[in-house]
Subunit: 103 residues, 4 copies
């Protein structure tokens, strides 16, 4: 399984981008994949082909409203690991000697 973090920003459309993020979140929710929204992007967990196809759909959705769109993405491809959205943070907290809980 793969974690994909992405952040999509239209250029020349004002400085607020939350309406575009919301439209992408709706696409991600329809996919049924696990996801997490944070202040600098959205993380999705799935197979590599699935998450890249989702990124393509999100970019094309934002491009309906803007002639130019930039997207930054990061992929963590780890064979044999699932549930990474939660387990990676838990693993760091464990090293810090903290019990699991809200960040």
């Amino acid at each position: 399984m793969v974690l994909l973090e992405m952040s999509i920003v239209p250029l020349g459309q004002g400085e607020s981008v939350s309406q575009y993020v919301a439209r992408c979140v709706e696409i991600i929710e329809r996919s049924g994949l696990s996801y997490e929204l944070h202040a600098m992007g959205t993380i999705v967990e799935g197979e590599l082909g699935q998450v890249l196809d989702l990124m393509r759909q999100c970019i094309e959705e934002v491009a309906k409203s803007a002639n130019r769109v930039t997207c930054t993405a990061k992929i963590d491809y780890r064979q044999g690991v699932t549930g990474g959205i939660r387990s990676k943070v838990a693993s760091v907290r464990e090293k810090l000697g903290r019990v699991a809980g809200p960040n």
Copy 2:
């Protein structure tokens, strides 16, 4: 205020990096700045000079254990806005018609 998202990875040190993230989180906690850890990086809020200095300290800490270190970072510099770690996610949730709550 600025949001800085960073992810620091040593090369050639095995495939688990959580111990290095934990050491960076300790440096960030000592700074007293607001931060949030997620599965693909850590977000810190502060003045531009502050967060870049923190990133330098974290890279140098990881470089104590590895000859080569890569760091990816993203900065959201927005004049006159504070509390962005929480408010950006809340703004997207509002557009989605959701009340505030756990992600």
Copy 3:
């Protein structure tokens, strides 16, 4: 057309990554798309679906040699523009009052 910049790094495989980059460049060359290799990544120009499929192939190629692979990517999606690998740099040089030439 889209510019995709990507950088793929296997974890736990030593600190030199040029052999993995070379294998990705061979995949990109076979695609026939325009590309440019620089010190921090590789830029490819094509349709959105094409360049994402190429990125997937490159990640899967590197994953043959490593259990964990990270990839950072940036996409510049600009409708109606082609040749951006060259024209974007030329546009900056023009603003600087320089004639076109080697960087």
Copy 4:
């Protein structure tokens, strides 16, 4: 020595960003550090503190013209290596069995 790749984009200022890149290139040139401009960002080589300070100056320069500025950056920190802007590409070309030359 460190390679820093950065890309700075103002939000809400139109879809062309080359004038902002040009102003950053002027700041980088005044620093005297080696740099390379490509279609998706600018690479600078220097000490970690130097290149981060340069990034801060560039962000602040672009922020004079825009209320919101985003910056993506990647750092390759490799102890005992200099000249990486050229040598990294040369190393890949060597693996590909090509002699050095224009990309």
